[in-house]
Subunit: 350 residues, 2 copies
């Protein structure tokens, strides 16, 4: 690959770089004062995500502050249920709420139309790509089908006990719902790639606590189907799969899903990451977001450890989970400066 | 070992048995109507645990219903904070509540006395051992120091965000607290072994979400210290360590902590369990407690899978988490019958 290829894409192509690319999950959003200001201009969070001007601005805000190697489109994993006809809204301070689960067969008929209803996210990507320097990559994303299904079934964030029980008691209904989500997600990601997304990430935020056979059925199989459908549409952008909380099952995931990158969460072991690299995967992660918030010398020490243990192979520096809203900007700057070798100016206000 | 040695102890000594021993975490307690009846006789849960007659009865109740190969003493992981001088109580329907964290140095002076304050648990063990058939083993237990510390620091069950941040911001205070808990726990387990416990289990219920270096410091190191202290007191009973949610870090745990058995949670992979067996550990787990509650053919199929994947080495059949309170007794009977090959009569009331 050419030296002007974005560092993130070089890493995802399997290159080991002198220093890894860096970006942070939730680098845009509530940890930035300029985001909080911007957010007051939209009537609600879903409207904000569907406004290309505001969403593009939110996507770019962290790129102005920090020399991040990638931007990730500002959007939400629950836009797909909305586009499939389930009501979705956010209760202030409490998180998402969803109306009753629509008839699954009826949603299946909405798959094609659903991507059209998400065209604003394509426009956000186009706007960001037009402004972003060519050496910085743009990432598109969607939620993993199982994670999205847990919200659709339970109507809110939860301990997933109801959805996990649903997986045992209504396996055919769950499979049908996952099939709808696979189709809608693949179509949505194809649209994102055609709108400027250079890498595609699947956030399976609730992969934890699943038995191996269930994990194979409701995480691995749908992820593989998404990647295959996106490839069948002619899209070649690399994938990052992030089965958060999957523990030792991450290796089965990596072996079975044709993703280029595997996101590792906070508790990933050094040895497991190295095995994934040896097996041809680029790994991404896994700094503790609570340590980023806490800061100090322990933060510097942990950054050095992560670089030492994983930068001998293809590696993308990131957190194991998203930036916490009350994370000091100086701590983000501290890590980015250390990883990139570039000093980062800290402005507490934009 | 002799054929009259309890099956659980043969497995923990490394024997591969024609069928594994079986017991269930939380086999005693709220899933049994006779427990719910018994529980009404005590004024509160802590008093119940400190009453040897009632606690012995609760321990034995599931042994009368099911041909379980082991009983586990009815007690709670929060008895130790109580014995060290922190107030502990249970809010009905909400779980444990703890008063302010006492001065750590003062608690250190209470370690020896704390075991004396837990003598009722020793008496419970003696009563159970006297009644239990010799071929059925009796297990003693304590909470893992980190898990107990999270309750002591946060005052209740939680997402552990406060304690995990405490681990970064106050490492010396946390280490001092863990040291007190290691000493109190080792002394308590020695007392349990001398009172009739034939195997000792450490429940590290909140091992999830920890970075590898933190896990090494606050889980592995304290567990190793407990085992070493118990051995130094001359106790030879085998240990089962259960770092629940530790994911891929379970292997580092197993390599570093001299336990004979390793408890695996619901998401353990077949391959990881087999590697642990190949490395000389007996494994225990990992049926999904939600599948036990859901029942049906999927439950039978999963039991067969677990037996097929793990009974080629030393294995103890168990859940990945405790029995849910609303689990039908018939489902427990179904699994126990399948694993033991003995028909189990289902009585919905005792």
């Amino acid at each position: 690959m050419s030296q002007t290829t974005p560092r993130l894409l070089r890493a995802l192509a399997g290159e080991t770089l002198e220093r890894p690319p860096i970006w942070f999950m939730r680098q845009a959003g509530r940890s930035l004062p300029e985001y909080l200001e911007l957010r007051t201009r939209a009537k609600d969070f879903i409207s904000f995500c569907h406004d290309p001007e505001m969403a593009a601005e939110a996507t770019l805000q962290p790129m102005r502050r920090f020399p991040m190697d990638a931007a990730i489109v500002f959007a939400d994993i629950l836009l797909i249920p909305g586009a499939l006809g389930q009501e979705v809204w956010f209760e202030a301070g409490e998180g998402p709420r969803l109306g009753p689960l629509p008839d699954i067969a009826r949603m299946a008929d909405e798959v094609e139309a659903s991507t059209g209803r998400l065209s604003a996210i394509g426009e956000t990507l186009q706007r960001v790509r037009a402004e972003l320097e060519p050496e910085r990559a743009l990432i598109g994303f969607a939620g993993g089908p199982w994670t999205v299904a847990t919200y659709m079934i339970e109507g809110r964030g939860s301990h997933r006990e109801i959805s996990r029980t649903y997986a045992y008691e209504h396996p055919e209904a769950l499979d049908a719902l996952l099939d709808v989500l696979v189709d809608a997600t693949a179509s949505y990601l194809v649209m994102q790639a055609r709108s400027g997304a250079q890498a595609l990430k699947i956030f399976e935020s609730w992969a934890e606590g699943l038995a191996e056979d269930v994990f194979e059925r409701i995480v691995i199989r749908p992820h593989r189907a998404i990647v295959e459908k996106v490839r069948a549409a002619g899209v070649t952008a690399p994938f990052i799969g992030f089965p958060r909380g999957a523990g030792a099952l991450v290796e089965a995931y990596a072996a079975a899903v044709p993703v280029q990158g595997v996101g590792l969460d906070t508790q990933a072991s050094a040895a497991m990451g190295q095995r994934l690299q040896a097996n041809g995967k680029t790994i991404q992660g896994a700094l503790d977001n609570l340590l980023l918030r806490a800061g100090g010398k322990a933060l510097d020490a942990r950054v050095e450890t992560l670089l030492a243990q994983w930068n001998g192979g293809p590696y993308i520096f990131n957190l194991g989970h998203g930036v916490m809203p009350d994370t000091p900007i100086a701590h983000i700057a501290q890590v980015v400066a250390r990883v990139t070798g570039q000093p980062v100016k800290v402005m507490e206000t934009a």
